[in-house]
């Protein structure tokens, strides 16, 4: 096993100490930077974030139907002929205390396939495969994101309930 330790201008040659039976692999020089954190945040024009029973963050939209206007503040409903669309906003706070990065990519996907509802985030239709919803989200200020949920009028009260979640992926640029 080959190993060396060099340090030049912040680049450190890594030591390899693991055992291999195949040909030795030389280590790349690496330089590490920063830390990144993410949190959901309430926005002035968005629905309230709640902790939920499991401590997870959830966006409370209240009960909404075609004929009843939303009772939760900052939740709007647009009526179309065969469906209605529930619209609200929420905040995403991405921080880099080390001030190394200016922006991050935000991807989103659904936790489960949903054949009943159609969810749009910042104009991107969500599926179970993560997609970039915003490629250059500024780090520091809380970014506002628009969630739209299409509900067909053909759904009954029972199966219209949304039993799904949005999984966000945040990657520094």
């Amino acid at each position: 096993m080959l190993g060396s330790s060099l340090a030049t201008g912040g680049w450190a040659q890594q030591k390899r100490s693991t055992k291999h039976t195949s040909t030795a692999v030389l280590a790349l020089q690496t330089k590490k930077e920063g830390a990144i954190s993410v949190a959901f945040a309430n926005t002035a024009d968005g629905a309230a974030l709640t902790s939920g029973t499991s401590g997870q963050r959830a966006l409370d939209l209240g009960t909404v139907s075609y004929g009843i206007n939303p009772r939760v503040p900052n939740v709007q409903v647009r009526h179309l002929r065969d469906r209605f669309i529930v619209v609200t906003k929420f905040g995403l706070s991405i921080q880099d205390p080390t001030l190394h990065f200016a922006s991050a990519s935000v991807l989103a996907s659904l936790a489960l396939p949903d054949s009943s509802h159609v969810l749009w985030l910042d104009g991107v239709r969500l599926g179970t495969v993560p997609q970039v919803v915003q490629g250059q989200v500024r780090i520091g200020p809380t970014s506002s994101h628009r969630l739209e949920i299409e509900v067909p009028t053909s759904l009954t009260e029972k199966n219209a309930q949304l039993q799904n979640a949005i999984i966000f992926q945040v990657i520094p640029n």
């Binding site: 020089q29 590490k32 990144i36 250059q136 949304l162 979640a165 949005i166 990657i171």
Partner: protein, 334 residues
């Protein structure tokens, strides 16, 4: 240690008169961490830095400029006159309720340099600063650029995928509330590949229980790992553009730059404002942005000082990998 500060400032415009910031009191002088709401002197990141610098340079500036209500007076007292070490801190990191619960990943970026066939071993630490246990699945994606934008491709779906070589010490990770977990990832560069970046992702797998009227949300974090493998480094700048200052925005100097080489580049840029006679009037840094091969991004610098009427030249200079890229544009302030 962190302290939250609610502030009001009668001297500022109505929209910017009040807000809340979080300061890191651990260092010798308070360090700005985040602005919870409101802004200090105006929109944009430059304003944020102005606030940060003001706090760094002189904490008393806060007192002079603003009427401040300190929510944690004990923390302030400890900074002004350090307490004996045995005294318990008023606020423990991670217990400050003013900071929203979050998860954090370190390092966020790893820049590797070498050649094909080499490898790296990297430790990644995820900190769970919430009261909930989080479960993650480790996953690697190749990062490619398509039509000028980044896309994230699952391991193995790209020819000569680097992500496909990633081996994690744990496939599943559970991070308990207010604790952290470290995972080792090993990556080997194939003998031939055009991929120059991967993401090592802590992908959230928590089952999210929500009522029928709520949408559950969970977050995953990824570390970006870039690879510089050849000397083919080339940036292509476009014309410098200057947008004049307005009542609500600073003067901005911007330039689109495309990475037409095969390697990732992290240019460090500076915009200088010169008078008609060539004298330096002022300068401002560009936001640092990473350019993957094929990527094209706009770099913007804000200049906050007011320029008297006259003719000027904006000179943009970017340094990367021992090279310098310089371009300029003339503009007039009426």
């Amino acid at each position: 240690m962190r302290v939250s500060v609610e502030w009001t400032a009668a001297c500022l415009p109505a929209d910017d008169r009040q807000g809340e910031v979080t300061l890191d009191m651990a260092s010798d002088v308070p360090r700005w961490i985040e602005n919870k709401s409101g802004s200090i002197v105006g929109p944009g990141k430059f304003a944020t830095y102005s606030w940060s610098n003001a706090v760094n340079n002189n904490k008393w500036l806060l007192v002079v400029c603003m009427t401040i209500v300190f929510m944690q007076l004990q923390c302030l007292a400890q900074t002004a006159a350090p307490l004996p070490q045995s005294a318990p801190p008023a606020v423990q990191r991670g217990e400050d309720t003013s900071i929203p619960p979050s998860i954090a990943l370190s390092p966020a970026v790893v820049m590797a340099r070498g050649t094909f066939g080499q490898g790296l071993t990297q430790l990644l630490t995820l900190s769970n600063k919430t009261g909930t246990e989080f479960a993650f699945e480790m996953e690697a994606n190749d990062v490619l650029v398509k039509d000028g934008k980044r896309i994230f491709v699952p391991a193995g779906e790209t020819e000569h995928s680097i992500a496909a070589t990633a081996i994690f010490s744990q496939k599943l990770v559970v991070v308990k509330p207010n604790s952290s977990a470290t995972v080792e990832v090993r990556i080997t560069i194939p003998p031939e590949t055009q991929v120059r970046a991967v993401v090592a992702m802590f992908k959230g797998t928590n089952k999210i229980q929500t009522a029928g009227s709520a949408v559950g949300m969970t977050a995953s974090l990824g570390s970006l790992i870039t690879f510089n493998l050849t000397p083919n480094i080339k940036l292509q700048p476009e014309a410098v553009r200057v947008s004049p200052a307005t009542d609500t925005a600073n003067l901005t100097i911007s330039q689109w730059i495309a990475n037409v080489g095969t390697e990732p580049v992290l240019p460090e840029g500076l915009a200088a404002v010169l008078s008609a006679k060539g004298a330096l009037v002022g300068k401002s840094p560009f936001e640092s942005k990473r350019l993957l091969p094929g990527e094209r991004l706009e770099f913007t610098a804000e200049y906050s000082d007011q320029l008297p009427p006259g003719e000027y030249k904006a000179m943009c200079s970017f340094q990367f990998e021992g090279k310098t890229l310089t371009s300029d544009a003339s503009f007039k302030v009426p």
